[in-house]
């Protein structure tokens, strides 16, 4: 089976508005858009599309569609329109299946320019310490990149952790989850060079209580690589099972950008193309995971050593989350 292509769409809306969006050719939104154009009698529908790497969402009624320019050209089979938010379950036609958008936030300028440069300089002089391995497992079929083991103990890791802890209550609220007591903050520094990738996966596991995954990007300027985008996949949820959909939102690995998402979200690091093949031109990333503590521990210190995050502060204890998403 061929890999679905990315289709760039220029969407013209009533009133002269124009938006450019990239969707995979099997994305349900594509069918919805073309069906709305070809058969307006099929009814007005509400559509939301990710723009600008998922930082912005464009929402409109299909009745506002004027035209679509697609590149490459696409020919759609317009005989079925999937419900956005619900997909048909062929195996269990009576059980409800939900298509859920990925939850994530993008924070640009996460560190100061000097802090970014300091981390980058550290990454560059640490070339010898990068190994083809990870904290948990290494499977070249699934993942190819280089990582520094033990980075989590470094001052550079603490620099990122401490700033992240400032954001933590707000991130939890944004994802609609209660603030949780931290067991640990796990961190690794990776370098993705030419041809490196990490196929679709999620970061949590029954024996790995990661709750939030945070990826901080750094690279030298001008950027010496292409690709390496983070794809966050829509999730198909049926009963108790989950799997990634074919549709996704892309976040570009921009220097000094932090992307945070619940660790259960399916995601993928797309292959990096690095023509120079120089280590210094790699796409570097500090990935940090916040682990939930099974038993709150007020004695544990986090970040630079000032913060007791092993228990939930009283003002947050009553807050149970609103269930809201932000992307």
């Amino acid at each position: 089976m061929n890999t679905p292509r990315d289709i760039q769409l220029k969407i013209h809306l009533a009133g002269g508005h124009e938006h450019t969006v990239t969707l995979r050719e099997d994305a349900p939104e594509l069918l919805v858009l073309f069906t709305a154009l070809s058969t307006p009698e099929s009814g007005n529908r509400f559509v939301q599309l990710p723009l600008d790497g998922g930082k912005v969402a464009c929402s409109f009624q299909t009745s506002q569609l004027v035209s679509i320019v697609s590149e490459p050209p696409v020919v759609m089979e317009l005989h079925k329109v999937p419900e956005l938010g619900k997909v048909h379950n062929a195996e269990h036609p009576t059980s409800a299946t939900q298509l859920r958008r990925p939850r994530f936030v993008v924070i640009d300028d996460f560190l100061s320019p000097q802090e970014h440069n300091e981390l980058l300089a550290f990454s560059l002089i640490s070339e010898e310490q990068f190994k083809a391995g990870t904290i948990t497992s290494y499977d070249p079929e699934t993942r190819q990149n280089l990582a520094i083991l033990g980075f989590g103990e470094s001052v550079h890791s603490r620099l990122v952790q401490n700033r992240l802890l400032i954001w933590f209550p707000l991130l939890a609220k944004t994802f609609g989850m209660p603030v949780f007591p931290l067991a640990m903050v796990e961190s690794q520094l990776t370098a993705a060079g030419d041809g490196h990738y990490f196929k679709v996966h999620c970061d949590d596991a029954p024996d790995l209580p990661r709750v939030l995954s945070c990826v901080y990007y750094l690279h030298r300027e001008p950027r010496g690589f292409a690709g390496g985008d983070l794809r966050l996949y829509d999730c198909i949820e049926t009963g108790g099972s989950r799997r990634p959909a074919d549709t996704f939102t892309t976040v570009e690995p921009v220097a000094n950008r932090l992307v945070v998402f619940p660790s259960e979200e399916f995601h993928e690091a797309m292959p990096v193309r690095c023509p120079s093949k120089e280590f210094a031109d790699s796409r570097f990333a500090v990935t940090t995971w916040l682990h939930r503590a099974a038993c709150p521990n007020p004695g544990t210190l986090f970040g630079w050593g000032h913060f007791r995050c092993g228990v939930v502060a009283p003002q947050f204890a009553a807050y149970q989350g609103s269930g809201g998403n932000k992307s």
Binding site: S112, Q114, L165
Partner: protein, 360 residues
């Protein structure tokens, strides 16, 4: 405190400050949100006490609430950032470009041989700051800044405040009370955002000043050398005596507060509000009765004859004070006799989405 926020709101409307007034309020789940006539109230997570250190330092909430507001609402444009113990004398109308914030001078910035040119006792910053050689701006609130610049500063501001307070907790003087100002200066300098000192705000002790904002955090001296008024001990809506204060900014603040209290007592603090009809509201008359069709409401609202008379003059051109006067004249009623009834009707029309109140 509610009286401070209402006084600030009153001065904002009185000065005809352009833009939106937003009050960021730390709220715990289930707690009622304070109400304002002009200001929009935004509830944010509470950082008092500090959720990780337990430190009871009110400025944490300032930075944390700003972080949440800027992140959640994606604000774009110029922000006048000021403390709740400030009032407007006249409007601040400068639009600020990115990278060009203005702020009030802060002559108390410690100077010495330590990191960032700070005095001794700040050596601990060596551990937490990458570049300790950059110059710090000696500035404080009020700050006029573009939202994109504030967004770059605010998380680091909160973090540094936490670090400075924690690191100085064991010193003879205890945790540094100026930690918020020093943290702001470092965060701004690290982000490469240069501040220009501007005459934005002045304390009541500055006799000769033309600043548009007055800060009344300190007690106001009386003509006989005593204290005429102390904001720290003032209770909600107690009367004040401006004539007891020395002439100058202190008396100006008390005069404003006195004027606000008087108007509040008479319901005239609404004088600076103008009821405007919401777009899309349609009116109709059937057999002398007036009906309103309000977008988003399934039912039609019926107005009695007094309600209809009030609705008719709420055309966006008159302040509430003018509406009071006009209806009292029309119905030949004594001054002030209709004020309460008019306010009730207007509040109801506002609540059901027919009207909104805007500053004149």
């Amino acid at each position: 405190m509610q009286w401070q926020s209402e006084l600030l709101e009153y001065s904002w409307g009185r000065a005809r400050q352009p833009g939106e007034l937003v009050r960021l309020v730390a709220a715990r789940p289930g707690e009622p949100t304070p109400c304002h006539r002009l200001a929009r109230v935004v509830e944010t997570l509470s950082w008092l006490p500090h959720p990780y250190t337990g430190d009871l330092y009110p400025p944490y909430h300032k930075a944390a609430a700003l972080l949440e507001w800027l992140f959640t609402e994606r604000i774009e444009g110029t922000i006048v950032l000021l403390e709740s113990n400030c009032v407007f004398r006249f409007p601040v109308i400068s639009e600020i470009k990115r990278g060009q914030p203005k702020a009030a001078a802060w002559p108390d910035l410690p100077r010495g041989d330590g990191p960032f040119g700070l005095g001794s006792g700040f050596e601990f910053l060596e551990k937490f700051c990458v570049d300790r050689t950059i110059d710090l701006p000696a500035v404080t609130l009020p700050v006029l800044i573009h939202s994109s610049d504030l967004r770059k500063i605010v998380a680091r501001w909160l973090e540094l405040m936490s670090i400075i307070r924690a690191e100085t907790a064991g010193t003879a003087n205890g945790s540094l009370s100026d930690a918020d100002n020093i943290a702001y200066a470092i965060a701004a300098a690290e982000a490469g955002i240069q501040h220009t000192v501007a005459d934005l705000g002045a304390g009541i002790e500055a006799q000769q000043n033309v600043a548009p904002i007055l800060d009344y955090r300190h007690p106001i001296a009386s003509t006989d050398g005593d204290i005429a008024w102390d904001p720290g001990t003032y209770r909600n809506w107690e009367p004040v005596q401006p004539e007891r204060a020395q002439p100058g900014p202190g008396r100006e603040v008390l005069t404003l507060l006195s004027e606000f209290l008087e108007r509040r007592e008479q319901g005239l603090e609404l004088a600076f509000l103008r009821p405007c009809r919401h777009k899309g509201v349609r009116e109709g008359k059937i057999l002398g009765s007036m009906f309103l069709d309000i977008p988003g409401r399934a039912d039609t609202v019926s107005l009695n004859s007094s309600g209809a008379a009030i609705w008719e003059v709420c055309d966006g051109t008159r302040s509430l004070a003018e509406i009071n006067r006009e209806l009292e004249t029309r119905f030949e009623m004594p001054p002030g006799s209709l004020r309460a009834d008019i306010e009730v009707v207007i509040k109801r029309l506002e609540r059901i989405g027919a009207l909104r109140l805007e500053p004149v």
